[in-house]
Symmetry: C2
Subunit: 231 residues, 2 copies
């Protein structure tokens, strides 16, 4: 793939968390010459969070790319983790990509595809511990680089992630130019964005909520890890 | 409109900057009970930045809402500023909405609709000076509240904006819970997100780029301001 006109593919699945990819997509779409492609196993349209994204390409139609990026999602990630055809497409694209990447729980999907063995990786704070069954090393960083694997933390980390990838692809000045254009000088009205800074009652409420999703997710991860070990 | 199940409408137009609304949409979609609606003058689909958003409602079909939000866009904003039918729909929804809001250059569209007379408002840093012809008072804040008008600065300010609106609608604990769920603890890899912090060469490059768009935008603003004064 050309360094001057990078092809960046977001590998989507039904129920994906939209900001996991719309955030980085906005950054990449301003990278001069870049082709940014939304794709899924089936192509067509995906509805998620009340938004319908149409015109998606089929992953199988894409011969190769410079960056493959897997976003995350709530229950949807568990389905992607168990979808062998989807994982096979990721492995195929990853084999020749310059960068293999994810945002949020997308790193669990990369793990299920066998792409994180021995690699440090980021993940949404609530699900980081589920990287270990895939042989990955959970890293609390917001953006984590290990070789050609670049992963971002939960949802909004995708913007920090994408600026980091742009700096890799095109230099820090291009990344800074995009940062200024999208006025990325964040000023959250509260300081509750991580488990370390959230008020204890807020964290407890989030952990209660996540506890209901944990058994299904843990089972999906363990089954995928077994298949990976057997394969 | 009910306080318990707020209806939030994003008024879109072709060429809108997608992160201006996908960022706040992700926040609002996690507000318990909220109905978040993407709508445009024509309904159907809008393509922008290489993404096709389908299933949009027609603005005229929406009888009322709690929050109306207008995102911005590059050249597209200039078209919206001059689209009397679109502006009339905004005025109609704004007349009964609890909050009249915008992200990025969406405040210029609110201004063209006559909704910012005498109000302080935010805007993308590069275009703030164009609020004055509409009788608005440009404010450099990232999120600016004046009465029931809440406006955000450029693109990524939409996330800070939406958390602020959620705190208004449902309290700070709900906003903090959403902030933690989307791991909004931003850590930009560079400090170039505002004209005050960007390296001078980066700012100069952005200003050169914006200078080519300025005459058309300024003309659209001046024409809309004249129509507003005459109307």
């Amino acid at each position: 793939m050309s360094e001057r006109e990078p092809v960046i593919v977001f590998a989507l699945f039904p129920g994906v968390t939209q900001l996991d990819f719309t955030g980085p997509h906005q950054v990449f779409s301003r990278l001069p010459g870049a082709r940014v492609i939304l794709a899924s196993a089936a192509g067509g349209a995906i509805e998620t969070d009340g938004i319908t994204f149409a015109g998606l390409r089929r992953l199988a139609e894409i011969p190769a790319c410079d960056v493959v990026c897997v976003p995350g999602g709530a229950g949807a990630t568990d389905n992607a983790i168990g979808d062998d055809a989807f994982l096979a497409e990721l492995r195929r694209l990853a084999a020749t990509a310059r960068y293999v990447t994810s945002v949020c729980t997308g790193s669990l999907v990369l793990g299920a595809a066998g792409l994180l063995r021995g690699r440090r990786a980021a993940c949404h704070w609530a699900w980081r511990d589920l990287l270990a069954p895939f042989g990955a090393i959970a890293d609390p960083g917001r953006v984590v680089r290990d070789g050609n694997v670049i992963t971002g933390g939960g949802v909004t980390a995708g913007i920090d992630f994408a600026l980091t990838v742009v700096a890799e692809l095109a230099g820090r000045e291009t990344a800074q130019t995009i940062q200024l254009a999208i006025e990325y000088a964040p000023a959250p009205p509260f300081n509750a964005g991580s488990p370390e800074t959230a008020p204890p009652a807020i964290l407890a409420r989030a952990e209660d909520h996540n506890a209901t999703a944990r058994p299904r997710r843990r089972q999906a991860v363990m089954q995928a890890a077994s298949r990976l070990a057997a394969g």
